[in-house]
């Protein structure tokens, strides 16, 4: 049997040439961030305890460099040839776009962490930063994967790191519970995803994006293999829907987000979502593009259920982290509109919205970090009463972030929504219903976002909040807050640049169809 397999594998000279040529330069961000894990772990061993504060700076610099390195990333060619490492990695404009989002957010979160960690009293900072960097590496690799093997390994790389990070608070039951739930459910969902990949592999004979797409373009869902393809797509959708936290696969989200340390919550809410949306863009409109009639109805229903469910669940929340996590669920629904509408505008709008979602969510979570107390106090919405008297700047930043999340112009959140809803209307047909549901649920969403704003500005705290004595955030956290809020407003007002870029990045979707090699 093995000999028969070997007989089918023909190796040409061209293949050998390609094997000899490895485009190391295309993975600069991964080298820096992934190598950074080792550097930080080593530094943690070497540095004396008094010098440990350096670790956060080392990892910040490495992650920032990793994000920046995407600009000298070796992007071999554009269009059909933009894959490297034997078609396993896509090195194109979208990879760069996502490197900035994912690695940039990780860098900012690293920068925001020391203040939080010292307040909570975490000692093992070396592991913390190493794991954050590992997670960031995995997230980025997920966005550049052009092969399901890379996809799977990257997914597990950041998931494994996040399991530990969620349970990182040593004395917190909630944190442990968060880590455990995430671990159990994510592994469970990963199994479905893997099974889906196996089925697709069985049908198409490959796990490479380009080859699968080529197969589907030729054969669609004809024959017995078509059954495998359909079931495979369904199972893969389970994995995706779990990670993007679409209803009804969302249930882990609030518990995990609430229990995890707040910077990690932010990393999950932003980084994971950005990575998975990018993967969504590469896999669904790209790989499964030829059979879009099959998966679009699925995502259509998921998007509607997610928008309604996420917003409805958020309405009566009292814990701000839970509220923001349900808001993340709701935003997953908005993002999926962009996937279903699937035209030029929706793709670039989706990437733009992702960028906007990144900055506004980061701003909101950074404020939560700054307000949270050492034992996890200050997370109730009622604790935000009168915040504008204690911390006027924090209240202002939170207001802008929430307005943006609610989609009030001229913040970036409005333009993101405008493009996605506009794309849905443009694509016509039933997709207009998506835009309608989106707008109506946005109105509901405004209600719970405004609840926080009203608390901050008009309500009087019933008693002295436990967190009233928390001082001003440290300079590094202040920097993160500033970046996030400037991004929220700036991307809204001066979005031209970001839009153009998103447009370029989105242009590569679905172009990986190559039949290189055999």
């Amino acid at each position: 049997m093995i000999s028969s397999i070997l007989a089918q594998v023909t190796i040409t000279q061209a293949d050998l040439d390609k094997l000899g040529k490895v485009e190391w330069g295309a993975l600069w961000p991964a080298w820096l961030a992934g190598g950074g894990v080792l550097i930080v772990l080593l530094a943690d061993l070497v540095l004396p305890k008094t010098q440990r504060w350096l670790l956060s700076w080392v990892s910040f610099v490495l992650l920032a460099l990793a994000a920046a390195s995407s600009f000298w990333m070796d992007m071999p060619r554009t269009g059909s040839n933009a894959t490297v490492f034997q078609n396993m990695i896509a090195a194109d404009e979208m990879s760069r776009f996502l490197a900035i989002i994912v690695l940039g957010v990780a860098a900012l979160i690293v920068l925001a962490s020391p203040d939080y960690l010292s307040r909570i009293g975490i000692e093992a900072t070396g592991e913390y930063y190493a794991l954050v960097m590992a997670a960031a590496t995995g997230m980025w690799l997920l966005t550049v994967a052009a092969h399901f093997m890379v996809f799977f390994v990257a997914l597990e790389l950041f998931s494994l790191a996040l399991y530990i990070l969620c349970g990182f608070l040593p004395r917190s039951i909630r944190s442990h519970e968060s880590g455990f739930k995430y671990f159990l459910l994510s592994s469970f969902a990963s199994a479905f995803l893997l099974y889906g990949i196996a089925l697709i592999f069985g049908a198409t004979g490959s796990t490479e994006y380009g080859k699968i797409q080529a197969y589907l373009a030729d054969n669609n869902i004809a024959g017995n293999n078509g059954i495998l393809v359909l079931f495979g797509v369904a199972m893969i959708t389970v994995g995706f829907a779990f990670k993007i936290s679409a209803v009804p696969f969302h249930m882990w989200t609030p518990d995990v987000y609430e229990g995890a340390p707040t910077p990690i919550t932010a990393l999950m809410a932003i980084g994971t979502k950005a990575a998975i949306v990018a993967a969504f863009l590469r896999v669904y409109p790209g790989v499964f593009g030829p059979i879009s009639d099959q998966w679009k109805p699925i995502l259509f229903v998921l998007a509607i259920v997610t928008m309604i469910g996420g917003n409805l669940l958020a309405v009566s929340q009292f814990n701000i982290k839970r509220l923001l996590s349900y808001s993340a669920v709701a935003h997953a629904g908005y993002l999926m509109i962009g996937l279903v509408a699937d035209n030029t505008l929706s793709r670039s709008g989706l990437l733009f919205y992702l960028l906007g979602y990144t900055v506004m969510t980061l701003a909101a979570f950074a404020v939560v970090m700054a307000v949270e107390g050492p034992q996890g106090e200050g997370l109730q919405i009622s604790d935000y009463a009168g915040l504008h008297k204690r911390h006027p700047w924090l209240a202002g930043i939170m207001t802008i972030a929430l307005l943006s999340l609610a989609g009030i112009p001229p913040t970036v959140g409005f333009f993101g929504k405008a493009f996605i809803f506009g794309a849905a209307i443009q694509s016509g047909g039933w997709n207009i219903a998506l835009a309608l549901v989106g707008i109506v649920t946005s109105v509901i969403a405004a209600y719970y976002y405004f609840r926080i704003i009203i608390q901050m500005y008009t309500a009087q705290p019933a008693s002295e909040p436990a967190t009233a004595r928390i001082g001003r955030p440290a300079a590094s956290l202040g920097f993160v807050l500033a970046v996030a809020v400037i991004g929220t407003l700036g991307l809204g007002i001066l979005a031209n640049f970001a839009l153009d870029w998103a447009n370029q990045a989105a242009a590569v979707i679905g172009q990986i169809t190559t039949n290189r090699g055999s």
Binding site: I5, F148, E156, G179, F180, L184, A191, F201
Partner: protein, 100 residues
């Protein structure tokens, strides 16, 4: 029935058994073993498809899955032990501080 069909049926059965195990058992260790069972069902599918397609990718993928599953086992056991040290009782249904 061809061999691939048999392999697929077995794989699907094992996968379902694993999924049911996760849902029905309340001991986290057993749940985790059930997840491993699901992964192995996937492995079986990969190998048999790889054989049918005449492609080595399936086999390579299995190695990847095994490696990742091993890493997952380490982390999972770590988390479970950490929880066990605080709780002294192994029942996932007790782990519900956060809800709603």
């Amino acid at each position: 029935m061809s061999s691939i069909t048999i392999a697929m049926v077995v794989s699907a059965l094992v996968f379902t058994i694993g999924a049911c195990g996760v849902l029905l058992r309340r001991n986290p260790l057993v749940q985790f073993m059930s997840i491993e069972l699901m992964l192995n069902a996937v492995n079986l599918a990969f190998i048999s498809f790889g054989g049918a397609n005449g492609s080595a990718e399936g086999q390579v993928f299995v190695l990847m899955v095994l490696t990742v599953a091993a890493a997952e086992a380490v982390i999972g056991l770590g988390i479970i032990v950490a929880m066990f040290r605080r709780r002294r009782r192994m029942d996932v249904d007790d782990i519900k501080v956060m809800e709603g």
